[in-house]
């Protein structure tokens, strides 16, 4: 296994977590992760050694997600969400999976630009500078999307789990 594959395999679990922050259920998240991994392998010539690999990989997944947004919405209209499958399918206990699905659905109600900022910083734990690099936006833009997204989420979740 070469350096590229090592780096990719190392970040895959985090890509998958990021995908869970962007999509509305675990099946979509795994699909997106799968496609991002495939795309990364195919595009490996575009990665320049020495540059920040993680940002490159996150960006691939994020761009795929944006690209499929339209077909995603179309598909959601014709295919009933597999609600029941989610709580059962994830490893760990069903309660944890249900909680995650609940939060994914809350994230799903955010505008895309806020959702991706929140997913990168609050779920992935990237710094503002790293997240801005992934999304290729100025730091100020990232910060304002992040704050608006967090405010909206806090409002949505407010009555459910008071801290």
């Amino acid at each position: 296994m070469d350096a590229f594959e090592t780096a990719l395999i190392r970040i895959l679990p985090r890509l998958r977590r990021f995908a869970h922050g962007l999509t509305r259920d675990a099946a979509d998240a795994d699909d997106l992760t799968q496609r991002a991994a495939e795309r990364a392998l195919k595009s490996r010539a575009q990665w320049q050694p020495g540059t920040y690999f993680d940002a490159w990989a996150y960006r691939i997944l994020r761009n795929l997600w944006i690209d499929t947004a339209r077909s995603r919405q179309r598909r959601d209209k014709v295919i009933a969400p597999a609600e029941d499958a989610e709580a059962v399918g994830a490893p760990g206990d069903a309660e944890a999976a249900a909680e995650r699905l609940f939060l994914m659905r809350a994230m799903d109600r955010l505008p895309d630009e806020q959702r991706e900022a929140v997913a990168l910083v609050m779920i992935e734990g990237l710094s503002y500078a790293e997240a801005a690099e992934v999304l290729e936006v100025p730091a100020g833009t990232l910060t304002s999307r992040l704050v608006r997204g967090r405010q909206a989420l806090a409002k949505m979740l407010g009555g459910v789990n008071d801290g």
């Binding site: 679990p13 059962v88 910060t143």
Partner: protein
């Protein structure tokens, strides 16, 4: 010294560790002095912790790289049915060859040379065990797929799935991380995704005990 005004942006940046020590100290001071600001900080802190708890575990599950040979995209329904990313450790222990974290479309796919041949131990149990027999592997259901192959749904320590008998042995057609390791054996078939995969594959009714015995006798051919 003039402190900068502390607003929600500032509080969030503070919680995210984005401030210099001096800035952080001034936010801390302001939060301590202002109950409204304190409540705001607590809301965002709790939310951050809640997301960390809910999503953190995902990043701990090891994964395998997809193989160079990518399956063609199935239709949306089939895509939603297949379960991806069986963790790498499972792949290593149960599946011979390169496990690509991906399973075949539920029905009608020609088996390839690199299809997911099962490790000998598991394959042997699928060869010999009847449905419902206790053991480290439990077979829940035996049925014939639309392509005529005998298929069996099973629960093993780390892997639940459906395997079908081909000319070269048992190959995995559906897989999900095991439910049996928690102690209580889940009745295979209660997972809706598994049930969906079986429904898409099955031709007719599942075999009864007599049918299963006779299929075993014929070597599942």
């Amino acid at each position: 010294m003039m402190a900068e005004p502390v607003d929600e942006d500032r509080v969030i940046a503070w919680l995210d560790g984005e401030l210099t020590p001096e800035q952080a100290a001034s936010v801390e001071e302001a939060v301590a002095a202002d109950p409204a600001l304190r409540a705001l900080a607590e809301t965002h802190r709790a939310m951050r912790a809640r997301f960390a708890a809910a999503f953190g575990g995902i990043a701990d599950e090891p994964m395998a790289l997809p193989s160079a040979e990518i399956l063609p995209f199935a239709d949306a329904r089939a895509r939603r049915m297949r379960r991806l990313w069986v963790p790498g450790a499972i792949a290593a222990s149960l599946v011979a060859g390169l496990f690509i974290g991906q399973i075949e479309r539920p029905a009608g796919v020609a088996d390839r040379a690199d299809a997911l041949a099962l490790a000998p131990g598991l394959a042997h149990r699928l060869d010999t065990q009847l449905s419902g027999e206790p053991g480290p592997v439990r077979v829940a259901l035996t049925f014939r797929a639309r392509d005529g192959a005998y298929c069996r749904s099973f629960t093993a320590t780390h892997l639940d799935g459906v395997a079908c008998r081909t000319s070269t042995g048992w190959s995995l057609r559906y897989a999900a991380p095991g439910t049996a390791s928690g102690g209580a054996y889940a009745q295979a078939g209660t997972d809706p995704a598994l049930a969906g995969a079986i429904a898409a594959m099955i031709a007719g009714e599942p075999l009864d005990a007599a049918g299963e015995r006779s299929a075993r006798q014929r070597g599942w051919r």
